[in-house]
């Protein structure tokens, strides 16, 4: 009986088979990365189910003007603000409308009577809150003069109550120009709803919860109580304390690793999701994610 050569037996065990698993595994990973990178470069496969916030900048401007056109008909500021907020603007929705009007006015949109009328409507809408943009300077004088009455007047004519802050903000005689002493408006008088909560990455304002409180005409309301709760603690802060950021603005500094719940006590239900910060990158710099919440009067 011939015994197999042990060395030959070992060689046969180690002999290359049909497949190299390490090479397969590595090429699988590389293929996966290539496939994912390709889909990110190409964009979505199905392109006909976009949401308004996914519109590119120029198209978003046209959509915003369409919202202003509808507002001329309905005078419904709540609905108008909702639609502007659905575009997920980086700033106040009416500021975004002013920017859109400015961009379109600067790009030949005013070449037709129809464009002039549309921008006039947009200007009337964002001027409600005393906001200004460049569109009003671009509009022909006669057009500006005959601009339709602002929606605030339409709303008043229609019999809507337009609650104003019950007590105007008081200047703090001791403090500098950048602070106000406010008397909180009694919460029971108003009710609010969180209409937008989106994160953003800003190295100058890391881990911040920015809150805007608007009435249903889109005007900022100072002195509104906003509550942040985490673990077993809570803090109350007020809108309008930072004069340079407008009457609607309030903010709160977050810490990493903590989940925060935000609401307006007695006036708005807590936001569905908790807020937390984490690393984000902007302009090749690592910083902490911030949040922007808008409470709109209902």
């Amino acid at each position: 009986m011939i015994r197999p050569d042990p060395q030959r037996e070992e060689t046969r065990k180690l002999a290359p088979g049909y497949f190299s698993y390490p090479v397969f595994a590595w090429s699988l990973v590389i293929g996966l990365a290539l496939g994912l990178a390709f889909t990110r470069m190409q964009g979505p496969l199905q392109r006909s189910n976009a949401e308004p916030w996914q519109l590119r900048a120029d198209e978003r401007h046209h959509f915003a003007i369409a919202i202003a056109l509808e507002h001329q008909h309905s005078g419904n500021m709540g609905r108008t603000l909702n639609k502007l907020i659905a575009l997920r603007p980086a700033q106040h929705p009416l500021d975004a409308l002013a920017d859109a009007a400015c961009a379109l006015g600067s790009s030949g949109y005013l070449g037709s009577e129809s464009g002039i009328k549309a921008l006039r409507g947009a200007v009337a809408l964002y001027s409600v809150d005393g906001r200004t943009g460049c569109a009003e300077q671009l509009l022909p004088l006669s057009a500006t003069d005959s601009a339709p009455e602002p929606a605030v007047e339409r709303a008043a004519d229609a019999g809507f109550a337009t609650p104003l802050p019950t007590k105007p903000p008081l200047r703090d005689s001791q403090g500098g120009a950048s602070s106000r002493r406010l008397v909180p408006t009694p919460a029971a008088q108003r009710s609010f709803e969180a209409r937008a909560a989106r994160s953003f990455c800003d190295a100058a304002n890391p881990a911040l919860i920015e809150v805007h409180v608007l009435d249903y005409l889109g005007r900022g309301i100072p002195g509104q109580r906003i509550r942040v709760r985490w673990s077993d603690q809570e803090d109350i802060f007020l809108s309008g304390l930072k004069v340079d950021r407008g009457p609607s603005y309030a903010d709160f500094q977050m810490e990493e690793g903590i989940d925060y719940a935000i609401d307006m006590p007695g006036a708005a239900d807590p936001l569905d999701a908790s807020l937390s910060t984490g690393a984000c990158y902007t302009a090749n710099r690592s910083t902490l994610k911030s949040w922007r919440i808008t409470f709109v009067e209902t």
Binding site: P16, G17, Y18, F19, S20, Y21, V23, F24, A25, W26, S27, L28, V29, I30, G31, L32, A33, L34, G35, L36, A37, F38, T39, R40, G43, P44, L45, Q46, R47, S48, N49, A50, E51, P52, W53, Q54, L55, R56, E59, H62, F63, A66, I67, L69, E70, Q72, H73, S74, K83, S112, E113, S114, G115, K117, A118, G121, P148
Partner: protein, 126 residues
Amino acid sequence: MRRFLRSLILGLLLGTLAGLYFGWIQFPPANRNSAISELAQRHRDDYTVMIAAGYAVDRDAAGALERLGKLEADDVSAYLRGATERIIRSSARDFDDIRLLVRLAHDLGQLTPAMQPFLELDGGDP
């Protein structure tokens, strides 16, 4: 060498297919470069209603047509007719929105029997 190439090609192929599946189907990218014509149907309808509402104020048919042109339909008037009929059939919008659409469709010469009752409720042919 053949063993290496075989493993490499098969791995790349399967990996790429998996990457395309995850990137397009399972976790599609949030595109921020869409045109108004690429909006979901309900948002295209919303846009159409907004233009019709603007028309109700300014009676500017040319402007309304130009704005509806953003939807990139081959025939904007026909698109408006089709969208209005579909919305009436499906009751996808409220009554006031339908009236706005019907008024615009009428003024653009696209009135159909399905729209007629809404026009009559709206005060008929001016």
